[in-house]
Amino acid sequence: MKNTTLSAIALGVGLLFTQTAAAIADEAPYPSTYQPIASSDVLLKGATVFDGLGNRLTSTDVYLVDGKISAIGQNLNVADGVQIIDATDRWVTPGIIDIHSHLGVYASPGVTAHSDGNEVTSPVTSEVSAEHGVWPHDPGFNRARAGGVTSMLILPGSANLFGGKGVVLKNVPSRTVQGMKFPNAPYALKMACGENPKRVYGQKGGPGSRMGNFSGYRKTWVKAVAYREKWDKYEADLAKAKPDDKKQPTAPTRDLQLETLVDVLKGDIRINMHCYRADEMAQVIDMSKEFGYKVTTFHHAIEAYKIADLLAENDTCSAMWADWGGFKMEAYDSVRENIPMVHNAGACAIVHSDSGVGIQRLYQEAAKALADGNKAGLNISKAQAWAWLSSNPAKALGIDDQTGSMQVGLNADIVVWSGDPFSIRSRPDLVFIDGAVLYDSSDPAKRAVSDFELGQPGEGDVK
């Protein structure tokens, strides 16, 4: 019974997203101005394809038309004049989506002036948004693209209980952040468990313990629930009021901090919570039930393998590293098989980077995790593992109806690899975003150079 109710709630949230996504984009300030870059149609011929949904297709053609995937199959016929790229002995996959990036908010070079990822002034800053901290000229975006990354969730850091909104970006060079914003993608809200908030605020008024962390979350959710009721009442009164009523209902004062949280309660913004320990994740899941929201993804989730069954039951994703650990106490119990063990339990597993270096080789993170899992006795295919890099993060971000898998009609966000991407000898040859080739390993003209690197040593170099 309990399970049924839970999945019903989960389903409800999912439906809500698809119905309101467009509406949100229209109403929201700082709207996306992204426009796909002009592209010509192309046929990728004879490739090995990982479709991102668990399937491996051999000797397969992929036809890209008007920036979309138009056909996938063997020996496709295309119109005369369409460019044909020989992909024999090459692999074709959906572009990689990094659900945990600080590109732009902790940009290279890592000078103090570039530290825009944590609003370390209060443990509750749900009113801030990563999009207002992103520097689009971070050279890291270009490096990530050369590593096959076509979209990213840019998150605030984990100093605060409520760190602020995260924004989904397309990995395209742009003068403005709005020009990178993924159209119709829901925002994320970054929250953080454990050591970071209590370390940062322990001597600055708290929280000073995990107890304090939880009371901080809960007090804030109580306020959010009350704020929502206030607005609900106002909207109900407004609906009832007649134009000639003497006393018209007055709108409550807007509170940006609580507004974000109400959007979470409504299911319009997705909770992405930094959480390492299994026991803490379990308590957070209970807290989400206490206030009626859903934790979409736990980030880092070092101990997800200990509660993979619970995560599966609650339809919560885990975004993980292949092998990071040890840097703090809550990372002490890391195991190299975390990702495959979560996958094996039927829960949603995602490979994430949290690093401008790691984001360039997320496919190798997947490869390491896959090999370690299989050596421990699991039986997971490379094709299944590709879901950790594309369709699972797309689902968690609410953009799986647009990208993250090889399906007809989806955006042509695609990587052509020089060989099997699970081999260290392979690298991306071509990276398509909405059908446009934005990286070509053999063409220096298709190597974006950020404003920062212009005229500097290494400008336009292979990286």
Partner: protein, 422 residues
Amino acid sequence: MRKFITVCLAFLLLQSPAIAETFAITGAKIVTNNGAIIKNGTIVFDDKKIITVGETASVTIPDTATKIDASGKWVTPGLFLPFSQVGMVEVAAESSTNDTRSSKSPFSAALLAADSFNPKSENVGITKIEGITRMAILPAASRTIYGGQGALVNTSGEFRSITSNTAFIYVQMGETGARIAGGSRSASWLWLRQSLLEAKAWRKGREPAEPLLNSADAFALQNALKKNLPFLVRINRASGLLALIDFKSKFGDLNVVAVGAKEAWMVADELAEAGITLIIDPHDNLPSGFEALGATMYNAVRLHKAGVKFAIANLGDGSFNARLMPQHAGNTLATGLDWNTAFAAITEVPAQIFGEGDNLGQLVPGMTADIVVWDGDPLEVMSSADMVFIDGQKQNMTSRQTRLRDRYLTLGDGNPLPFAYR
């Protein structure tokens, strides 16, 4: 009685002397780092040395040897971390467990990494089972540009696993060194030159009136100069590397090794000419600071073409994930570096840097039997070590990580016992 047996067992375990056993690993693809890869090879060794290595058909296996069939496997020398802090820290963020830095010590160059090394650290075990048998460990610089004296250790986890406690000196230059030395590169270079001049001339009872160094630091540097120990100098900018070349020649061809060297490719010919060996990280390709604007993954292949010798390390994490060194080396393959050079950079070259080239880094009769059996190409991310031998001793391949994994691998098997009993 039971307690008594436990005590005896514990005593035996502690005392357990290296059991002299001869091994013969047969039928493997053997990388000796000395000539071509042997496609079907056999290697015979004991706890003292490698006895024979060659084509399986031509190797005589002693009757007493324990045979290990390694058909389809790779056999290589143990990997050598050229730059790490494994065993000096358990949990980086917990200062009580982190002995990598001594910011409040009056000493710097004299500090011994060996004093901070704990062979029982979890990090040592997780490093060993990835095929790494030797490590250079070092103290980070903090109060002065000198981190201190680096040590050489093996990863066996045995109490006596430090093989040299004064193997090299670590010096922090570049952006970080400049801040430490007083705020500029002018300050850090002057500090480096002046402190070495002072150390050279240091005599007990005739110390300078206003010394830069205390006597412990001065004697540590003097000892290093006398023995021609390597000075590992962390430095990235191309202009800084040229300054290092100049410094090396002015100090009597000082044995300097540049660490980081992100812009080294820009001065590759000069580095080759000066004979400076580097320790680089191919994953460094971001302009992480203004000293690294030329950073590229192609550093390694360009340096190789110019004739510069280099070792490879994960310079982003010297403790927990120092073990990722083979991945960092492997990624040079896609930039066009040849396999042998990439592999030598994590075996042979580190051994040479620390004066162990006659003893480690190759599979040659007479050398120490640090040997790894792999389930595939060790530079591939999907390969891993099946067996590790250090000093000819077969190593335990479990770690705290594998134990945690095994405890939870059967989640959902219906076992009613709490995990703490499994």
